[in-house]
């Protein structure tokens, strides 16, 4: 489920729709959590589906490390790619804001973090500083460390900001995500002392 302070907005015929903040969403906010309305389809299931589904399934899914397709059920499926994204995916079924997203700002993510295979690629029109123009699954090799650092910076703020989606994440998952990124999970309890 996507953060509640978001709306769908049309951008241009080339890009289509995007997801925009209706209020400021500060860095460290969980912006999306995988939930049971997201449908998980195996590559075999996708192959058996009629041709008419091919386009939406390419557009509105992301891949898990196991190669399954996850069909996002809500506005999250309209989140666009940016080479300078303000949200980052984690391996734990949630995304986090890694910059302050102003009211009216578009929520974006680097699609290369969504487990593109090395063969997958697309042209990027984000034209942000550092735009890679042509995105391929291989980009992750060069970007992995950088994006891990950016994610860590976001996670460090997780207990400092309002979190409308945090109750959808289970504690163990969150703890594992913090540990992977070297963020002390105990910071959660800092306010108690």
């Amino acid at each position: 489920m996507i953060h509640p302070d978001t709306v769908l907005q049309f951008i241009s015929p080339e890009i289509g729709y995007g997801v925009f903040a209706t209020r400021e969403i500060p860095m460290g906010t969980v912006t999306w959590v995988h939930d049971s309305l997201d449908q998980i389809l195996t590559p075999a299931q996708v192959q058996r589906m009629p041709e008419i589904y091919a386009d939406p399934l390419t557009r509105y899914t992301y891949r898990t490390p196991e190669g399954n397709y996850v069909l996002l059920w809500d506005l999250a499926r309209f989140m666009n790619h940016s080479c300078s994204p303000n949200c980052m995916g984690t391996h734990y079924g949630f995304e986090i804001a890694v910059k302050d997203i102003p009211s009216g700002g578009e929520l974006t993510v680097d699609y290369v973090t969504l487990y593109m295979t090395p063969e997958e690629s697309f042209d990027c029109y984000c034209r942000s500083p550092g735009c890679r123009w042509h995105i391929t699954g291989d980009d992750m090799e060069a970007l992995g460390d950088q994006w891990a650092g950016v994610t860590e910076a976001g996670l460090l703020r997780i207990w400092e900001v309002e979190q409308p989606l945090l109750h959808l994440l289970n504690d163990a998952t969150l703890q594992r995500a913090c540990e992977e990124h070297g963020v002390p999970y105990q910071l959660r309890f800092r306010k108690l002392f």
């Binding site: 769908l8 907005q9 049309f10 049971s36 309305l37 589904y53 059920w73 409308p164």
Partner: protein, 204 residues
Amino acid sequence: MIHPDTELRFVSPAIGFGVFATRLIPKGTITWGLCHLDHVLSPARRLEFPAAYADIILTYSYMTTRGEAILCWDIGRYVNHSCDPSSLSLSEEMEIAVRDILPGEQLTDDYGMLNIVVALQCRCGAPNCRGGVRGDDVRRMGAEWEARIRDAFAHAPRVPQPLLPLLRRPEALRDLLEGRAALPRPASFCASATAAAGMGSAPA
């Protein structure tokens, strides 16, 4: 799944988004049909969701007489109501175009056929606007809906039906198209307001 010759467009801040035809969709075409990707949420399943989901599910789904909430997986969830709609419910699992829908025209249906739980105000602007939509509209509108659906369905065997192979129960449409089954009467799948409220309410 919604008919493939459609797209999402923003209508106005008050109405939000709507679904528009990108090519002619002839009268008699199935414009929406329940497919395998649509969510069928039983009352028990809905209770498993945190409160944050109740409003979303209520806004974007319609109810069956069995109390299931049908949440369309695609832009079908953005189809607006009109008191003079371009589609009507053929059954709980299909909508049918009751007139030619021209390119650029909005696809609408009649929420009075969707077992709505909470009555809605309507400002659709149609000359026959009822001013509101209620779960028991079938009592007043049933005969008119039935006549319009019957008239539209006469065209159904002669127009392309791109959704037929995608339906969860394609045989239900084939039986209708080939005359092996009679058209369901709206009263058989539009519950009265009290029945719908009892069975279809979303978790608080």
